[in-house]
Point group: C2
Chain length 191, copies 2
């Protein structure tokens, strides 16, 4: 299980066997049950997460309605904005399934970076990768219709449709659940 973390890191930087052992030894892995909340609105986050198994969702509540902002599945990492800004979180993070998650903390990060300084490069590289990916996703979102976004999601993350309730996919796509239902009907009768 810990090897998934090593593999993730090796996508960005080289890691000797000895260094991999250090990372392995310092990883904290926890299990969560479906619907467990990793972080609530208003809380200060001191952890970041790496999904080993399961599916996690980030969302916020506006006018009483949940808006899903992202789904995270195996081998994806979550660094809550709150951890960076030191402000109370605007977002919830909760488990859509039973999950196994590696939890990183600021203190342990400092110790790890002390021992393996090049981990700084990992942070730099992965952050900017995420930044660029988000930018592309945002730009696409702007110029595509909801139906195009639906098809794009089907193409790129088909697994979500088996793991996630439709009303959460709807707000993720920037539309209402009612509208998504109607759209699916429209698409299915089209062919």
């Amino acid at each position: 299980m810990e090897d998934k973390i090593i593999q993730f890191i090796k996508r960005y930087i080289d890691l000797s066997d000895a260094e991999a052992d250090i990372v392995r030894d310092s990883s904290h892995i926890e299990s969560f049950k479906k619907n467990d909340i990793l972080l609530s609105e208003g809380e200060y986050s001191k952890n970041h997460y790496f999904i080993l198994k399961g599916c996690v969702r980030t969302y916020y509540i506006i006018d009483g309605n949940e808006k899903t902002t992202e789904f995270y599945t195996e081998n994806q990492s979550i660094v809550p904005a709150s951890m960076v800004t030191k402000e109370p979180s605007e977002y919830f993070i909760s488990c859509l399934e039973d999950c196994t998650i590696a939890i990183g903390s600021e203190e342990r990060d400092l110790v790890l970076i002390e021992r393996i300084p090049k981990l700084k490069n990992l942070i730099m590289k992965s952050d900017i990768q995420v930044r660029i990916h988000n930018q592309v996703m945002f730009d696409n979102f702007k110029s595509k219709t909801p139906e195009m976004r639906y098809h794009f999601l089907l193409d790129t993350r088909p697994d979500l449709f088996n793991r996630v309730p439709l009303h959460q996919l709807a707000t993720y796509l920037g539309i209402t659940p009612v509208s998504l239902s109607r759209m699916r009907k429209r698409i299915s009768t089209k062919r």
Copy 2:
């Protein structure tokens, strides 16, 4: 002029006078004319930019139509995706006004980081700040109507309305120029 760069850096990390001098000495400042292109689609970017004066726009072309993705004004920095990915750029970067811009290159960055290692922290911090800001903007975009986005832009970046043609603001807001024109009419007759 160079001091704007120093001030920007000091928002993220401390810098001694000696270090500030090093940064100042190694900065390359260039002037550009309105409509000058800093980067074209298909090109490989080896530079990043810090706007000292003027306004710069990033956009891409899809189905023959320009889609503006961001406006950058004084004291904002641009790190093109292409510079990170080493892939040809999907985006154009062009000057909306006569501009004064500090240009950073990969080679000079390496030398600078060699001399001032803590600049790595600057990169880490500013990257993640941008990432989080983009995430919030994206989430807001999804849950707001075009009209709400228009008002939000008016509130947060009123200067753009004096510097940028409306049809470019329109695609930035994710709508067509025709639609923006109609919306403005609707808003003005509402009160």
